[in-house]
Subunit: 189 residues, 2 copies
């Protein structure tokens, strides 16, 4: 069983309230549709900032959500001098504080900055089809010049999803791989 | 069999001629001794530059060598918009051109920028002790929150060396590990 890779560069998810503080009445528009249904790379960028440093041109991923979340890489975390937990998207309780700066304002989040865990978007039907019932996480085999095995790749099951492996830029750069490549799933026994 | 990790941040090795162009008569001094005999993090930093971008505060690693070499991560390569080959240190033929800027001058290298391969410094005596004769490369098992297996970890045999695993910052950040941690070597059959 193979799965297509989508590399997640650093990005933010925003609530409507936060978006309006950052961008006022400017609309959030689709720059590029993503593989996951309804998700899109938007036309808006923010700067993310801590006391130690800042990173600009961080993409807002749409649509707007019920929570604010900043997803960065471990590499980014050294620049910002923070130590975010490795989390599933949406699980931000007790994660790192961070400031988000937009075109017309800024918002300080008391929590919300995480390192996203390795995961695969998959439907309940695909779970059945590939005999993955009762399996929480799998491994991914990478070939090429920097080969190896990625473990703790969590299955993220949702009806409205398309089969896709999400890795952050640390993982994709360490293994010298890119969005669109396909990789073998290994079932952990 | 376990090996201690030393994470290699981006750095440069310089010839005496290049060093003098970059720093004039200022001496190259030891800021911190490294684990490998005679090797040291020096007190000198350069900027590395391509047409697309630049990275500053890149450490000069001493002592001076017979060749110029710039070792960066895949993450850095996207910023500089170059595609360096994955190479053993010293094997720079046909690698990427890059400009190095020092306090008192700059030097353009026609080749010299690489991504260092994953490797282990090991002595001939240790090769015998651990039954690694005729083995070119091994695997490394990583536990923790982002576990997995790193493959193509080359054995770099030299009498004057100390057992140490060298990974770049992409690998160490992808697996959430740090200098000083110890990891299990798996022999590839």
């Amino acid at each position: 069983m193979k799965v297509i890779l989508g590399v997640s560069n650093r990005h933010v998810h925003l609530t409507e309230k936060t978006y309006k503080k950052l961008f006022g009445e400017k609309p959030l528009e689709v720059a590029k549709k993503l593989r996951q249904p309804e998700q899109f790379a938007s036309n808006r960028f923010v700067t993310i900032k801590t006391e130690a440093g800042e990173i600009n041109k961080v993409r807002v991923v749409g649509p707007l959500r019920k929570y604010n979340q900043v997803e960065i890489s471990k590499t980014d975390s050294y620049l910002l001098k923070i130590n975010p937990p490795i989390r599933e998207s949406g699980n931000i309780k007790g994660s790192c504080p961070i400031t988000i700066i937009g075109d017309s304002g800024e918002v300080h989040l008391k929590e919300g900055c995480i390192l996203a865990n390795r995961h695969i978007h998959i439907t309940p039907d695909e779970i059945k089809k590939y005999n993955l019932e009762n399996i929480k996480k799998v491994k991914i085999k990478i070939n090429g010049k920097k080969p190896g095995i990625l473990e703790n790749v969590y299955l993220k099951i949702a009806k409205k999803s398309k089969l896709e492996l999400h890795l952050d830029t640390d993982d994709s750069n360490a293994f010298n791989v890119k969005t669109g490549q396909k990789f073998e799933i290994i079932i952990e026994k």
